[in-house]
C-alpha cells in the first residue's frame, strides 16, 4: 500500500488508506465481544452503563492515540514511556493544584498538553540528532519518569481540580470526557486530510524513499511526536478525572495495555499504518474483555483469568492477521466502514433482543396459528388497521430506535461520500456535510416531536 501511495496517486485514491484490511480483526472482535457482553449483562446498554464505559475506556483510548501518532513515524518507535508520561502529568498536575496554581480549566488543559508536547519534542530531537534507536530512548524515559513520579508524589493521594470532580461519576453518556474523546478523534481525522499526514505515512513505511522524494523528515518526525504529546496530555487529564486524585504508579500500567490495544487495533509497530478508528476499537476491545470476564464469577482467580484471556486474545488476533493476505485475495476492496455498519446492524438486533422486556409483551397476546384464510392474507396487509393503544405505545417507544437505525445508515452513507470526495478539490464534501447536518437536525426535531406525544400518552 505504501508503494502505491508513493508513486501512483491515482491508484492511491482508489485504495487509499481507507480500504484497510487490517481493521477486519478489530471490528469483528469488537462486535463479538459487544454482543457477548450485552447478552451477559444487559445493563451495559443503559445510560449509566455506557457512561461508565466511556469514563473508564477514554484514558486508554487516548493513550493508544498517543502511541499511534508516534508509532506511525517508523523506525520502530514504540513509545514505552507513554504510561509514565501520563503518570508524570497526573502527579505534577495534582501537586501544582495543591500549591494553588492551575485553578482554571483552560490552564489545566494547556499545561497538560504542553508538558506532553515538550517531552515528546525532546524525545524527537534525541531520536533525530543523537540518532539512538527510539525504543532505547523510550526505555530510558520510562525508567526516568517512573522514578521521578515517585519522587514528586510518593504515594497515591491529593485531589483533582474541583471542576473535574464530577467528570468521573460516569452517570450519563454525555460527559465532558466524551467531548474530549470526540474532539481528539475528529482532530486526527481532520489531520488525515493534510499533506503532512501523507508525508508521515510515507516516512513511516519507508524513510529512505521519503527522504529522497524531498519530504522534510526532521519536521515530520517532530510533528508526529508533538501530536503524540498532545494526546498524552489529554489522556492524563481523563486519567486524572477518572481517579480524581494523583497516583504515581497507576499511570505506568498504561504502557503495556496501550501497546496491546494499539496492536489489537491493527496498527503496525513498524510504522506507516494506524488510525484513530482502529486504535479506539483496540482499546475498547480490551475494555470489553475485562467487562465480559467480570460478569463471570471466578472468585479469587478473577485477575488471573483476565491476564490469561488478555494474552490469549492478543496472540490469537495477531496470528489471525496472518490470514489477511489470504482474505485479500478474495476480497479486493474491503471497506471497513461498510463492514462496521453491517455488523453493527446485527449487533443492534442482539442488543434489542437482550434489553427488550419480553414479559411485558406476553400480555398483548401471542400469534395463534390457525387455518390460513387466503382472502385475509392477501388483503390484510393493505387494510389500514385500527391501532390499539398498546400498539401505539409500542410504536412510540420504537420510534427512536427506528430513527437511530435510519440515522446510522444516513450517517454512514454521507461519511462514505464525504471521505471518498475529500481528496478532490470540489464543493461536494461541504455539500455532504451540510446535508448530513440537516438530516441530523431533522432527526433531532423529529425525536423531540416523538417524545412529546409519548409523555402525553403516559400522562
Amino acid at each position: 500500500m505504501s508503494a502505491a501511495t508513493s508513486h501512483a496517486p491515482v491508484q492511491a485514491e482508489a485504495q487509499g488508506g481507507r480500504s484497510n484490511p487490517f481493521l477486519l480483526m478489530p471490528i469483528t472482535l469488537f462486535f463479538a465481544l459487544l454482543a457477548f457482553a450485552v447478552l451477559r449483562a444487559p445493563n451495559l446498554m443503559t445510560s449509566s452503563g455506557i457512561g461508565a464505559a466511556i469514563i473508564v475506556a477514554t484514558p486508554l483510548i487516548l493513550a493508544t492515540y498517543a502511541l499511534m501518532a508516534s508509532a506511525m513515524s517508523g523506525r520502530g518507535t514504540v513509545d514505552l514511556s507513554v504510561g509514565p508520561l501520563i503518570g508524570f502529568i497526573n502527579v505534577t498536575l495534582i501537586q501544582l493544584h495543591a500549591a494553588g496554581m492551575l485553578e482554571n480549566p483552560i490552564a489545566v488543559f494547556i499545561y497538560a498538553m504542553v508538558v506532553g508536547a515538550i517531552y515528546q519534542l525532546i524525545f524527537a530531537l534525541i531520536v533525530i540528532y543523537v540518532r539512538v534507536q527510539p525504543i532505547i530512548v523510550s526505555l530510558s524515559g520510562y525508567l526516568a519518569l517512573t522514578g521521578i513520579n515517585l519522587v514528586i508524589l510518593p504515594r497515591p493521594g491529593g485531589v483533582a481540580p474541583p471542576f473535574m470532580a464530577e467528570w468521573g461519576y460516569g452517570t450519563s453518556i454525555f460527559s465532558p470526557i466524551l467531548a474530549i474523546l470526540l474532539l481528539a478523534s475528529v482532530a486526527w481525522l481532520l489531520f488525515t486530510a493534510t499533506a503532512f499526514y501523507t508525508h508521515l505515512r510515507l516516512m513511516g513505511s519507508d524513510e529512505r524513499a521519503a527522504y529522497t522524494s524531498g519530504v522534510p523528515i526532521t519536521i515530520v518526525r517532530i510533528g508526529a511526536h508533538l501530536i503524540s504529546g498532545c494526546f498524552a496530555g489529554l489522556a492524563a487529564i481523563c486519567f486524572t478525572a477518572l481517579i480524581s486524585s494523583g497516583d504515581p504508579s497507576q499511570g505506568t500500567t498504561y504502557t503495556l495495555i496501550a501497546v496491546t490495544a494499539l496492536v489489537l487495533g491493527g496498527a503496525s509497530l513498524a510504522g506507516g499504518r494506524g488510525g484513530v478508528f482502529g486504535s479506539a476499537l483496540g482499546a475498547l476491545n480490551l475494555y470489553l474483555i475485562t467487562y465480559v470476564l467480570s460478569t463471570f464469577n471466578f472468585g479469587s482467580v478473577q485477575s488471573f483469568v483476565t491476564n490469561l484471556a488478555y494474552g490469549t486474545i492478543l496472540v490469537v488476533s495477531l496470528l489471525l492477521t496472518l490470514l489477511i493476505p489470504v482474505i485479500q485475495r478474495f476480497i479486493r476492496n474491503f471497506s471497513p466502514l461498510l463492514y462496521f455498519v453491517a455488523l453493527s446492524v446485527v449487533v443492534l438486533g442482539i442488543i434489542l433482543h437482550a434489553t427488550f422486556d419480553y414479559a411485558a409483551l406476553g400480555q398483548v397476546g401471542a400469534l395463534i396459528p390457525g387455518p390460513l384464510d387466503m382472502q385475509a392474507a392477501l388483503t390484510g396487509p393493505l387494510e389500514i388497521a385500527t391501532i390499539s393503544p398498546e400498539t401505539d405505545a409500542l410504536r412510540i417507544a420504537a420510534a427512536p430506535l427506528v430513527l437511530s437505525a435510519l440515522l446510522l445508515v444516513v450517517i454512514a452513507i454521507f461519511l462514505r461520500m464525504a471521505i471518498t470526495q475529500s481528496s478532490r478539490r470540489t464543493l461536494a464534501p461541504a455539500v455532504a456535510v451540510v446535508i448530513a447536518a440537516l438530516v441530523l437536525a431533522g432527526a433531532y426535531v423529529m425525536s423531540e416531536g416523538a417524545r412529546a406525544p409519548a409523555t402525553e400518552a403516559i400522562d
Partner: protein, 453 residues
C-alpha cells in the same frame, strides 16, 4: 579479532614481565592478608591471563592506526575545531563541580576531587582510546565505566569494596545475568522477548507448588526447566511469522503464562495466588548469600553464571552455531541462501530464553525461600537495559553475551553505588533512566539517513 596485527617480540616480553610483576604483587598481598591458598593461586592465574590478553589486545589495536598530521591554520585553532564538543563538555563538568562545591557544604573533600579526576580520566580515555577500537568499542567503554564506578564507589562508600558487598553484587548480577542470556540471544537475531519476567515469576511459583505437591525437588526443578523451554518453543513458533511484532507476541504469551500458572496453582487452595512450601536445602544453598561452592565461601550461582557466560562467549565466537546466529542476525536473506534454517535458530533461541528464564525463577526461589509471581517484574526492562548498555544491537547481528555480562555488571555496580550514597529505589530508577541514554549514545549511534541511500 581475526585481523590481529602481530606485535613485536620486545613488546610481548615487556607485557609478560609487567604481568608477572603484577601477579607477584597480587599474590604477595593475598598471602599478607591471610587468604586461603586456593584463592590466591586462582586470582594470580586470573590476573596474569587477563593482563596478557589485555596487553596483546590493546597494543594490537594501536599498531595499525598511524596518525596522519595535516598542516593548516594555527594549531590552537585546529585543536579547538577538532575538540570543540569534548572541551565544552569538560568545561560544563568542571562548572558543575564548582557550583556543587560552593553550594553543598563538605562537598569539597579529597575523595570527591579524586572521584572527579577519575571521571575525567574515563571520559578522556573513552574519547581518545575508544576511537582506536574498530570493534568492541562498547565493551571498552563499559569496562572503563565499570572501573571508574567501582573505584569511585570504593573510595566514597565505606565497605563498598568489602568481600561481602562484592559477593552480594555478584549474586544479584548473576540472577540478572542468567535472565539476560535469552534476551541477548534473541536480540542477536533481531527479536525481543518480553515474556522473560512472566516465565521467571511462573517458574518461581510453579516450582514451589510442585514441591508442595510432594514431587521430589530435583524432579520438580527439571520439570520446571523443561516447561520453561517448551514455553520458549511456543513463543518462538508463534512469533516466527510475526517477527516485526515479536515484542507484542511475547508480551501476550507472557500475560497468558502468568495468568495460567496462577490459575493452576490456586486451584484447590484457599490462599489465592499464594503458594507455601519448604525450599530444599540444596536449592537455598545454590543462591543464598551464605552458600558455599565446594567449600569456597561464595554461592554456587555465581559459578553457574560464570560457566554459562564462558560457554556462551566461547560458543558464540567459535562454534558454527554461533557464527550462523550472527549470519542470520546480519542478513536473513544471504544466510538462508547458504542453507541456514532461519526458523530453527529463531525457535531455538526463544527456547533457550524460556529455559534460562525458568532457571532464574528457580534460583530466585532458592534465594527468597517463598514463591511470588511478581518476582520477575523488575527484569522486564532490566534485561533489556543490560543488553542495550552492554552494546548488543537490538537490530541483530552485533554484540554478544560478553557484552551483556559487562552491561549487567555496570547496572549492578551502579545500583549498588546509588544505594551506597543513600538514594532509594525511585532515585535509582531515575538515574538509571538518565544514564542509559548517554551510555548507548557513546557507541550505538545509527548512521544518518543520507548515508543509507
Amino acid at each position: 579479532m581475526e585481523k590481529f596485527p602481530q606485535i613485536s617480540l620486545s613488546a610481548r616480553i615487556l607485557g609478560l614481565v609487567v604481568g608477572l610483576i603484577l601477579t607477584a604483587i597480587g599474590a604477595g598481598f593475598g598471602f599478607a592478608q591471610g587468604a586461603s591458598v586456593q584463592i590466591v593461586i586462582l586470582s594470580a592465574i586470573a590476573t596474569l591471563a587477563l593482563f596478557v590478553w589485555g596487553w596483546r589486545y590493546v597494543l594490537g589495536q594501536f599498531l595499525d592506526g598511524d596518525t596522519a598530521t595535516s598542516e593548516g591554520s594555527s594549531p590552537l585553532r585546529q585543536a579547538w575545531v577538532q575538540f570543540r564538543w569534548p572541551l565544552l563538555g569538560l568545561a560544563l563538568i568542571l562548572l558543575a563541580f564548582l557550583v556543587l562545591s560552593l553550594t553543598v557544604k563538605g562537598f569539597f573533600n579529597i575523595w570527591n576531587v579524586i572521584s572527579l579526576l577519575i571521571l575525567l580520566a574515563i571520559l578522556v580515555l573513552t574519547r581518545t582510546l575508544g576511537r582506536q577500537f574498530q570493534q568492541n568499542r562498547s565493551a571498552f567503554i563499559g569496562i572503563m565505566v565499570l572501573a571508574g564506578l567501582f573505584s569511585v564507589g570504593s573510595m566514597n562508600i565505606e565497605g563498598f569494596a568489602s568481600g561481602n558487598n562484592i559477593k552480594s553484587m555478584l549474586l544479584f548480577a548473576s540472577f540478572l545475568g542468567i535472565a539476560s542470556v535469552g534476551q541477548t540471544l534473541v536480540a542477536l537475531l533481531g527479536g525481543l522477548d518480553l515474556s522473560i519476567p512472566f516465565i521467571i515469576g511462573g517458574a518461581n511459583v510453579g516450582l514451589l507448588y510442585l514441591i508442595g505437591l510432594g514431587v521430589p525437588p530435583w524432579l520438580a526443578t527439571i520439570i520446571v526447566l523443561a516447561i520453561g523451554a517448551v514455553l520458549g518453543v511456543i513463543n518462538g513458533f508463534l512469533s516466527y511469522r510475526l517477527q516485526g511484532q515479536a515484542l507484542i507476541v511475547t508480551l501476550g504469551t507472557g500475560f497468558a503464562i502468568s495468568g495460567g500458572v496462577q490459575i493452576v496453582t490456586s486451584i484447590g487452595s484457599e490462599y489465592s495466588g499464594n503458594v507455601f512450601g519448604t525450599v530444599p536445602g540444596w536449592l537455598s544453598n545454590l543462591s543464598a548469600m551464605n552458600g558455599s561452592t565446594f567449600g569456597l565461601p561464595f554461592p554456587p550461582v555465581i559459578a553457574i553464571w560464570g560457566l554459562i557466560a564462558l560457554i556462551l562467549i566461547v560458543g558464540l565466537r567459535i562454534t558454527v552455531y554461533g557464527r550462523f546466529l550472527y549470519a542470520l542476525g546480519v542478513n536473513r536473506t544471504s544466510a538462508s541462501r547458504v542453507m541456514i534454517s532461519e526458523m530453527r535458530y529463531w525457535v531455538l533461541m526463544y527456547a533457550l530464553s524460556g529455559f534460562f528464564a525458568a532457571m532464574t525463577g528457580s534460583l530466585l526461589l532458592g534465594w527468597s525461600g517463598g514463591g511470588f509471581i511478581g518476582v520477575g517484574d523488575q527484569y522486564l526492562f532490566l534485561t533489556l537495559a543490560a543488553v542495550v548498555v552492554g552494546g548488543t544491537s537490538l537490530l541483530g547481528g552485533a554484540g554478544g553475551y560478553g557484552f551483556t555480562v559487562i552491561g549487567v555488571l555496570v547496572l549492578q555496580v551502579l545500583s549498588s553505588f546509588l544505594v551506597g550514597i543513600g538514594l532509594d529505589f525511585k532515585w535509582q530508577q531515575f538515574i538509571f533512566g538518565l544514564l542509559i541514554l548517554p551510555m548507548v549514545a557513546l557507541y550505538a549511534r545509527s548512521p544518518h539517513i543520507r548515508t543509507q541511500i
